[in-house]
């Protein structure tokens, strides 16, 4: 007897929402539902990441399809009584787009979800990732059935080739071709590795994928293994992703129980099993040869290619390494056919891509869109634009290997080629939106700091080159830039690209080169005018209290960690620039109505200085009072 319910509450239990207290909410809901005797009718289902992480903790009420965000424990009794008992949905908890008044009750009305096309994440928020039966019910493991009963390994490879699927791990290598190379190798055994190392800062697609639908990855791995003739597979995951690791463990043991992993699967005589390996916090381990070394227990430094892993990989045997998102595409291709799949996307980039949309954007979260959609749609329609009415400046894609795409290229389609042409790359799918308050020099410095930290140090160009880049960038942001620095950065960048051995070094200068290409004037402002147009670089800015606006409320003075503010109650406050550490606390403290604290840079600083030289004087409050 299958249990039926009247209402199901699909509660997101992805890392983001869990951090926001999703488990407590679930517990609270269950208690409240039981207290009202509704447990037969209403059930709570934990799902993987819903994607709209900025609204978490959140849930979707099925079958009405109503979306509730920012839940708190206090909302629960009211919610259960009104909505689940009396059937009156609560507007207060629904989503209201910023800058608008109208609430949007239904999930399907919310623009964030509207323009998405779910292929890989087809089960997100619909199944409980810890229940294999849920996955099976959504046509899960149909693809395994199909390949085992009616397709030869070569036919599988051919199908994947026709579908046009390209690797989602960054480089976009055609997956079918990779499999073909491995399947043609004579040497055995062959290995398969699913890459879920995901070290790019600002990207969490792979983690969410595993958290919401681990069986899709297992099924994809199975098919890849079948195609290349491998019975042993590894999935390499970041240890930081504990929830994902746990879900994967659960999923693997359930699949073993059902005989979908192990020996003689579904009576076909084909064996296949998966072992989880965890990384321990080294970005370079995402690189395929380095990852292989890490699994072998060797020093995880990359090695020269060729031979490619598909020829000589793990323990010297042919090894296919694919990103987990790539693999999760495979079951869909097999069940729905390569022709259906290749109908989505552009000429050279097929299918969909998951992006994590983060940074200065209203709707942060995880999205899946068809290839070829343009950036404007992603940022303004799905992402809901930039918060606080700020100006869009650039979007960074491809993480530390990618680059910035400026506002004029917003109408460019998102696919492998056009991103590359714009000086960036697809990468694993992080999309970090920057507004006018983000300094591109500072961001470049940040990325180089990252790659400099993470460079394994094996080749000189990458190790010392990143060091040299960092030195120059630090100098520029400190206001000590010199004539010729820009040219030096360019030349050095190109050299590092040419001379590095692995992808880390070959792409490390991209953030600098791409920002130089689009925002050269900003670099020059730093160097020539000692001015940071975005008001970020600390040595180039000053905080300043506008004497005409200050009401002498002492708020900033009391909270200044450096005790750098002089003044008394109802006296104009002055910042002692020698003591100021530029932490920005005063700006935060100043009441929004007053907003007397401002940031200034470059020549503007000189214009203001004289004004602030006055010793604290009583401010005539009359003006304010009479108003």
């Amino acid at each position: 007897m299958v249990e039926k319910r009247r209402i199901e509450l699909m509660l997101c239990a992805g890392t983001g929402c869990v951090a926001g207290g999703a488990f407590q909410i679930i517990e609270g809901l269950e208690k409240e539902i039981a207290a009202r005797g509704l447990e037969k009718e209403v059930s709570v289902v934990q799902t993987g990441c819903n994607g709209f992480c900025g609204q978490g903790p959140l849930m979707v009420v099925i079958p009405d399809n109503i979306f509730y965000g920012w839940l708190t424990l206090d909302d629960i009794p009211h919610l259960v009584e009104e909505h689940f008992l009396k059937g009156r949905p609560i507007e207060k908890l629904m989503f209201t787009p910023p800058e608008e008044k109208e609430v949007l009750p239904m999930l399907s009305d919310i623009p964030f979800f509207k323009k998405q096309l779910l292929v890989v994440l087809r089960n997100k928020g619909i199944i409980d990732p810890e229940k294999i039966d849920d996955y099976i019910a959504r046509d899960g493991y149909v693809a395994i059935e199909k390949v085992l009963t009616s397709m030869s390994p070569d036919e599988v490879i051919e199908e994947v080739k026709i579908s046009g699927l390209r690797g989602r791990g960054g480089a976009g290598f055609p997956t079918g071709v990779k499999w073909k190379i491995a399947s043609q190798q004579k040497k055995t055994p062959k290995y398969l590795i699913a890459n879920c190392d995901e070290g790019d800062p600002g990207a969490y697609m792979d983690r969410s994928l595993i958290e919401s639908d681990p069986h899709a990855v297992i099924e994809g791995m199975f098919i890849a293994g079948y195609a290349i003739g491998s019975s042993e597979a590894f999935i390499y995951m970041r240890t930081e992703y504990q929830l994902a690791v746990d879900r994967m463990k659960t999923a693997i043991s359930q699949a073993r129980e059902y005989g979908l992993l192990g020996k003689d699967i579904l009576g076909s005589g084909f064996d296949f099993d998966i072992e989880i390996r965890e990384g321990s916090g080294a970005f370079v381990c995402g690189e395929e040869t380095s990852l292989i070394h890490s699994i072998e227990g060797d020093i995880p430094e990359p090695r020269q290619r060729p031979p490619f892993p598909a020829q000589e990989g793990l323990w010297g045997c042919p090894t296919v390494i694919n990103n987990v998102e790539t693999l999760a595409n495979v079951p869909v291709i097999i069940t729905r056919g390569a022709d259906w799949y290749s109908g989505i996307g552009t000429e050279t980039s097929k299918g969909t891509k998951i992006f994590s949309l983060v940074g200065k954007i209203n709707n942060t979260g995880l999205i899946e869109v068809p290839m070829g959609i343009n950036l404007r749609d992603v940022i303004y329609d799905i992402g809901g634009g930039i918060p606080d009415g700020k100006e869009f400046k650039a979007v960074q894609t491809g993480g530390p290997s990618g680059g910035c795409i400026p506002a004029d290229l917003l109408d460019a389609p998102i696919d492998f080629e056009s991103l590359q042409k714009a000086g960036s790359m697809m990468g694993s799918g992080g999309m970090i939106v920057m507004d006018e308050d983000t300094c591109v020099v500072d961001v470049s410095k940040f990325f180089i700091q990252f790659t400099n930290d993470e460079s394994c140090g094996k080749c000189v160009a990458c190790r010392d080159g990143s060091e040299a880049l960092l030195e120059v960038l630090t100098r520029i942001t400190n206001g000590e830039g010199r004539e010729g620095d820009v040219e030096f950065l360019e030349e050095l960048g190109e050299t590092i690209k040419d001379a590095s051995m692995c992808g880390l070094g070959q792409t490390l200068p991209n953030p600098v080169l791409s920002t130089l290409r689009y925002f050269r004037d900003e670099y020059e402002a730093h160097i020539k005018e000692k001015r940071c147009p975005a008001l970020v670089c600390r040595n180039l800015i000053q905080y300043y209290i506008d004497p005409d606006k200050c009401i002498g409320c002492l708020k900033c003075l009391k909270n200044c960690p450096a005790n750098a503010i002089l003044g008394e109650l109802k006296y104009v406050h002055i910042i002692d620039q020698d003591k100021c550490t530029k932490c920005g606390q005063c700006l935060e403290e100043c009441p929004p109505k007053v907003s007397a604290v401002i940031k200034v840079t470059g020549n503007d600083m000189d214009d203001l200085k004289q004004l602030s030289e006055i010793i604290p004087v009583p401010k005539k409050k009359k003006k304010k009072k009479t108003e």
Partner: protein, 296 residues
């Protein structure tokens, strides 16, 4: 020291200690000016370090081309006598008249008669025996031993067991005590140098004990553009320790990480398993205090 030249009775020979490139040149110069030269070296042959180099700094000259002619010349010079496999034990006397005591190791070959044909080398029955020092056997204290043995046992049959072993040990102890690493090396046969390289490569591993609560401040891109740097500074300020350092009471270790995948909640910090999203620097003192209170 003022020298009384009258007292000095010069004897016509010199001793050069060390047969490197400098010693060789000195010996040749002396011998060319008609002085009998003794040359002492503790190795079985002269040549020193330069014989092991390819090129020399800063001129990139070929090392062998520089020294080979001198080697040959010394070998031939009638006034240079090489005393190899020897060390100077004592020097007495004063400038102009020294007496030097030299200790010579046995060579088991009559140097007068040897022609350097090499036949003895190829005929020696124990030619390739390497004599190593006895390796010290590591035993762990009972309280460690059981855990570590269990971990080793668990991964015994795995391919590439080293990472899983280290991860499990790290899980238990939070860091790698030196003795345990040595023990692992002894039991698994991985050289200690190799284990050390791995143990220092990954950022999740540490060779120093770390605090009870590890504070990870995310410095990933999303958090960075939303002001994570200020949070980190506040932590440094509140805890009074720098990044990758541990407070004296062993309660907190401060670290920075690159993205923990909660970018939607940026800026983020984690303390142990607790995640703090949309964190503001003014909340930090209270959060720290909460953990400190729990300990009391």
């Amino acid at each position: 020291m003022s020298l009384n030249l009258e007292d000095r009775k010069k004897i016509g020979s010199a001793l050069v200690v060390g047969g490197g490139i400098g010693g060789m040149q000195a010996a040749l110069d002396l011998a060319e000016s008609g002085i009998k030269v003794y040359m002492v070296d503790n190795k079985s042959s002269i040549g020193g370090v330069m014989s092991q180099l390819d090129k020399t700094f800063p001129t990139n000259d070929c090392a062998m081309c520089t020294m080979a002619p001198r080697l040959v010349e010394i070998g031939r010079h009638k006034d240079i006598e090489k005393i190899t496999l020897s060390e100077v034990e004592s020097i007495t006397g004063q400038p102009g008249n020294f007496t030097v005591k030299i200790k010579k190791q046995p060579r088991y070959v009559d140097e007068e008669k040897c022609t350097g044909c090499g036949a003895c080398v190829s005929n020696c029955p124990t030619r390739n025996t390497v004599q190593l020092q006895e390796r010290e056997v590591i035993t762990l204290e009972p309280q460690y031993e059981e855990t570590v043995i269990n971990i080793l046992q668990k991964h015994k049959d795995r391919k590439g067991p080293l990472m899983p072993i280290l991860q499990d040990v790290n899980e238990v102890y939070n860091y790698f005590p030196e003795k345990i690493l040595k023990y692992i090396s002894q039991e698994t046969g991985y050289p200690l140098t190799h284990i050390n390289r791995i143990a220092t490569f990954y950022s999740a591993f540490s060779l120093k004990p770390i605090g009870k609560h590890v504070i990870n401040v995310c410095m990933g891109t999303a958090c960075y553009v939303r002001g994570a740097e200020l949070l980190l500074e506040k932590f440094v300020d509140v805890l009074g320790v720098g990044i990758d350092e541990t407070t004296e009471d062993m309660l907190f270790t401060l670290k920075s990480v690159r993205c923990i995948g909660c970018c939607g909640l940026a800026p983020v910090a984690t303390i142990g398993d607790d995640v703090y999203g949309k964190l503001q620097s003014k909340d930090i003192p209270d959060i720290i205090a909460k953990y400190q209170k729990k300990e009391q």
